[in-house]
Amino acid sequence: MKLTIEYYALLKEQRGCSSEFWETSASNPAALYDELKAQHGFSLDRSALKVAVNEDFAEWDQSLQEADTVVFIPPVAGG
C-alpha cells in the first residue's frame, strides 16, 4: 500500500524532506517506523516517539490503510 509520511523537527532534518510517498507492506505504524528507521538511519528509537495517523494521535498497533498520512512525533519541547 502507498502512504504519505510527513516529517517534523529532528526527523525532517535527518530525512532531508518534509514529506514523501512510501510504498510499504508494514501493517501498522510500529512496523512502518522500524522500516523507515532502517532505511533512513533515524537516530530516535520508537520508544521516544508518538504517532499520528490522518491528523490525530494513533496507536502503534492499529491497522494502516491505503493513502493514510502518517506522522512520527519526536519528543516535544513547546513552552
Partner: protein, 145 residues
C-alpha cells in the same frame, strides 16, 4: 483570536489584545502565563532558536487541553497561543490566559494548561548555541526517558 481555543502563530504574540478577550462581567479574576525565550539552556549560552509545530494536530490537541480546563475548573474563559518560527531572546514563545469568578481557579487552570501544552502539544524547539552544534531540545539520545 477566538475565545476557548489554542492557536499556533507565526507572528508576535500581543498579550494585551488577548487579555481583553477574556474580560467579562462574571470574571473577578484573571491569570496569565508568558513563556519567554531565554539566553541559556542547560548551562549553555543560546544565540538563537526556532520553534516548529505540526500545526493541524497541535491546534487540535491544544483545543482539547482548553476544553479539559473548562470542564475541570470554575473558569469563564481561557485561551492560549504558541509562536513558531525564528524567535529572539526575550520574545514571548507561549501565552496562556484564563478568567474566572475567583482567583483560585484562574491560577490552577492556567498552570494546568501550560503544563499540558508542554507535555502533549507537537511543538519542537531547535536551539543554536554559542559553542557547539544546534540541537533539537529533548531529542538528544541521552535526554530520552
Amino acid at each position: 483570536m477566538e475565545l476557548n481555543r489554542f492557536f499556533i502563530s507565526e507572528s508576535a504574540i500581543e498579550p494585551n489584545e488577548l487579555r481583553s478577550k477574556l474580560q467579562n462581567e462574571v470574571a473577578g479574576a484573571y491569570a496569565s502565563f508568558e513563556g519567554w525565550v531565554r539566553n541559556h539552556n542547560d548551562g549553555k549560552p543560546v544565540n538563537a532558536l526556532e520553534y516548529s509545530a505540526y500545526t493541524a494536530l497541535a491546534e487540535k490537541e491544544g483545543d482539547r487541553i482548553i476544553g479539559e480546563a473548562l470542564d475541570r475548573f470554575e473558569i469563564s474563559g481561557a485561551a492560549a497561543i504558541h509562536r513558531v518560527g525564528p524567535l529572539d531572546i526575550g520574545d514571548i514563545a507561549v501565552w496562556v490566559g484564563v478568567s474566572s469568578p475567583h482567583r483560585g481557579a484562574a491560577f490552577d487552570s492556567c498552570r494546568y494548561i501550560i503544563d499540558e501544552i508542554k507535555d502533549r502539544v507537537p511543538i519542537w524547539k531547535r536551539e543554536s548555541y554559542e559553542n557547539g552544534p544546534d540541537e533539537w531540545v529533548n531529542c538528544a539520545k541521552g535526554d530520552l526517558e
